[in-house]
Symmetry: C2
């Protein structure tokens, strides 16, 4: 029997947190004395009220969260959060349509960053802040989920990465992982503050600085400017953002080690090396390509290449250039990065570097197995053998990812005649990136997309954010069988 | 030490076969007294001469073909065959350029069917016949390879399919598989004859009938008409071709069983059921789609849908309609079929139905494993458990396929600005299909493609035809290590 009461109780508790976070946005609205004050009051009241009700009415719930309850809570919370999180947009009339407001909020919480807004600068400060805050909360949420909660359910790259915590069992984990989670939140906050200060020094207003820090560290990509980071032409600002996007796409436990002075743990880490290598390689090729095919100067070609590569591979989605007007070869290189993603245990989305590396390694090993079929050659990662089961899981993940991608492109083409636009919209939402190709490119937005498409893409964002399995398992008959 | 002499000796022997087959085309040229008679004489002489020389000069070769020699021979023979097979085109001035002639021949032998010809009807009969013959030989060749030779090297869906022959060992196989191979050739010839007769009855000339039978049974798709099968408006002819494309994409051992009256072996076969189901499903959706979005009558909508679906899923590549002018949703459904392919042990290319089914099953099992991590649930196929190793191999194959696909699209975009055209050209050549998307669609051809693109696509045809591993292993350092 599914313990529905505990599901409602947990969701209620989390809604209280969401309601409280709306009060922070209310504070911003009050400071700027904007037209959005009332909207935040009502939203917080409604969200907190429903949360409190749901929490209090289920006091007699049995306190056992099983696997199935876990899957349902983890999936549902994003949907519920997005519905309530859409209230401020709708009540302030910033985004009157439910479809649009839900899309914008889901895109926020999942740190995707695809937007339907045509005139961002016209919005009140409170609303802009709420928009960035959804990403920052989502980014923090995913770290907690992927480091502390999902491994319980046998999901997430962290199983593999955190070899220090072999075979996590509830009793062993509670104290240790709670401590880890707290440390990682600390780093998340620290980096956000640091970036805010640096962006302020670079010439941003304090408001723009804090907003961009929020959405950088979440690898979200919402900007307070319609032109995204391209609005800020200062190379200093752009490099600062590059550095923090890079950090946000790095496993947070590695940053933790680095801050403790254990640098060798960082540069010996195989996922980090691959992450660094991919960025360097793509940047080099694209920078040279831009230098040869445009009349850009050296530094600008390098900066534009680096910014776009880091922005896409970390799934942030900021833009300082329109990669769609580049030579097609360079555009497709950027598109290839849609299928990489950040590191495990970072705020980045996508397939994730650890999986890419293991997939590549396993493929190469498969060739060797052809030549020496009787030799048992397990795939190695960070100097340890990777259990066969994890390799199979990652291969199945990749298969699912491609399957969902292809099938979604087919579904999306019902409402979108342009092939490249369909591919771009699906890939960017599934990978939690932000901009796509064709008519949803980096200088465009998702405003013109058919309502059906907006709901569908919102679903893809959720699928991608929870790394497919968590959501897909809900659709399997096995899940609902006794 | 690599036994180079035995490689040369085997290739020499095979070249003699190719030279002999040119004599058949010469016969056709003589019958029609065409301008291509001399071209075939010289080609046969050169091919046979080099073959004989290579065969005779290596008489002292040690008679052991090891794994590595096997891989090299299987890959090289298609390249060597394509170079010599291009001679008739060049010497008859039908296709003067080496690049174009090589592309057309490789496309023939690999049964891809992508063509660079702009005016097919203008070519002499001997040349047209040679073009179809390359496909027919290639189709026969791949059956022999996939049923009798590749399993020795641990490659090919047949390992899995032919559970009757568990763990093939050389001594056990020789008599049995030679017999099987002969039976399958028999069926191949029988079906070709049968189709020729039916097409003749349907109103084709004998010459057109035999050519189309050759290229149908090979799932090749070369036509003697520029407009492909669309030239023949007779529904009877189109339905006949549909039936034989379907048979050519079916595992030939199943046809063997069917002819022996063992029908239950056919309809109980899981790959066959899936193959049938996919065709029925895609046809139904597309037929309804065509009916709703165009003013086609019922039968025509059904026939156009069925023909295009069967043509693409079997990787034949004939066209009776231009799927690029359909509603984008229907076009993308057709494009999805680019990633299916025929059955194992058929002449069809692509990923293959057996792999698709196992990938889907394994993915679903992975979801169940999430819920019951301690239950050991092996994937089952045809009521047998599939060994873990085969599942891993198929997953790695899929990964390779996607990797080669993506990287090739990137490479191809250097010379092709249109994204859809790049994707279409790469997918169709890698899947040995024929027509693509954009400027290489079913009413277009590959004539305008940059020479670099033609050589690159030729390589992809070979990669796809040999199911990646055979060719890729040659590029792995492990292969060349002592």
């Amino acid at each position: 029997m599914l313990n529905i009461k505990i599901i409602l109780r947990t969701l209620g508790l989390l809604l209280l947190v969401e309601g409280a976070s709306m009060l922070i946005a209310l504070l911003v609205a009050l400071i700027y004395n904007g037209p959005d004050i009332a909207a935040f009051c009502w939203s917080a009241l409604a969200t907190g009220g429903v949360g409190a009700l749901s929490f209090l009415l289920t006091r007699n719930a049995k306190n056992n969260i099983g696997k199935r309850e876990g899957f349902i809570i983890v999936s549902l919370v994003w949907v519920v959060f997005s519905f309530f999180g859409a209230l401020p947009y709708m009540l302030s009339n910033s985004i009157p349509s439910l479809t649009d407001a839900f899309f914008e909020t889901m895109s926020g919480f999942t740190t995707t960053g695809s937007s339907i807004l045509n005139d961002i600068e016209a919005l009140p400060h409170g609303i802009l802040f709420w928009r960035s805050l959804t990403q920052w909360l989502g980014g923090m949420g995913i770290i907690v989920l992927s480091l502390a909660i999902l491994p319980f359910f046998g999901i997430g790259g962290m199983q593999l990465f955190m070899a220090e915590v072999p075979g996590p069992t509830p009793d062993k984990l509670s104290p240790k992982l709670r401590h880890t989670a707290m440390s990682l939140w600390g780093i998340y906050v620290l980096f956000t503050l640091l970036e805010t200060i640096l962006l302020k020094i670079g010439g941003m207003t304090f408001f723009d600085a804090i907003n961009h820090s929020f959405t950088t560290m979440a690898t979200g990509g919402y900007s307070t400017k319609q032109a995204s980071v391209a609005h800020f032409t200062s190379p200093f600002i752009q490099y600062v953002i590059i550095v923090f996007m890079f950090l946000a796409g790095t496993n947070f436990t590695l940053s933790y080690f680095a801050l403790q002075g254990k640098l060798s743990k960082v540069y010996k880490n195989e996922e980090f090396r691959a992450y660094f290598f991919f960025i360097a390689m793509f940047t080099a090729i694209i920078a040279v390509g831009l230098y040869l095919t445009t009349n850009m100067k050296g530094e600008l070609a390098f900066r534009d290449a680096l910014f776009q590569v880091v922005s896409i591979i970390t799934t942030t989605g900021y833009a300082t250039a329109d990669y769609l007007v580049w030579h097609p070869f360079l555009t497709i290189l950027i598109f290839a990065l849609f299928f990489f993603g950040g590191s495990a245990g970072s705020t980045g989305g996508g397939i994730k570097i650890v999986r890419i590396v293991l997939l590549l390694k396993n493929s190469y090993y498969e060739l060797r197995r052809l030549l020496h079929p009787n030799a048992i050659v397990p795939v190695r990662f960070n100097h340890r053998s990777v259990p066969e089961q994890i390799v199979t899981n990652i291969l199945a993940f990749f298969m699912f990812y491609m399957m969902v991608f292809f099938m979604s492109v087919i579904v999306f083409s019902v409402i979108e005649p342009d092939f490249a636009s369909s591919i771009g919209a699906v890939a960017t939402c599934l990978g939690n990136i932000g901009p796509g190709l064709g008519n949803v490119g980096p200088v465009e937005n998702f405003h013109h997309v058919h309502p059906f498409g907006k709901w569908f893409l919102s679903f893809l964002m959720l699928l991608g954010r929870l790394e497919l399995f968590t959501v897909l398992v809900l659709f399997s008959p096995a899940f609902w069988k006794k």
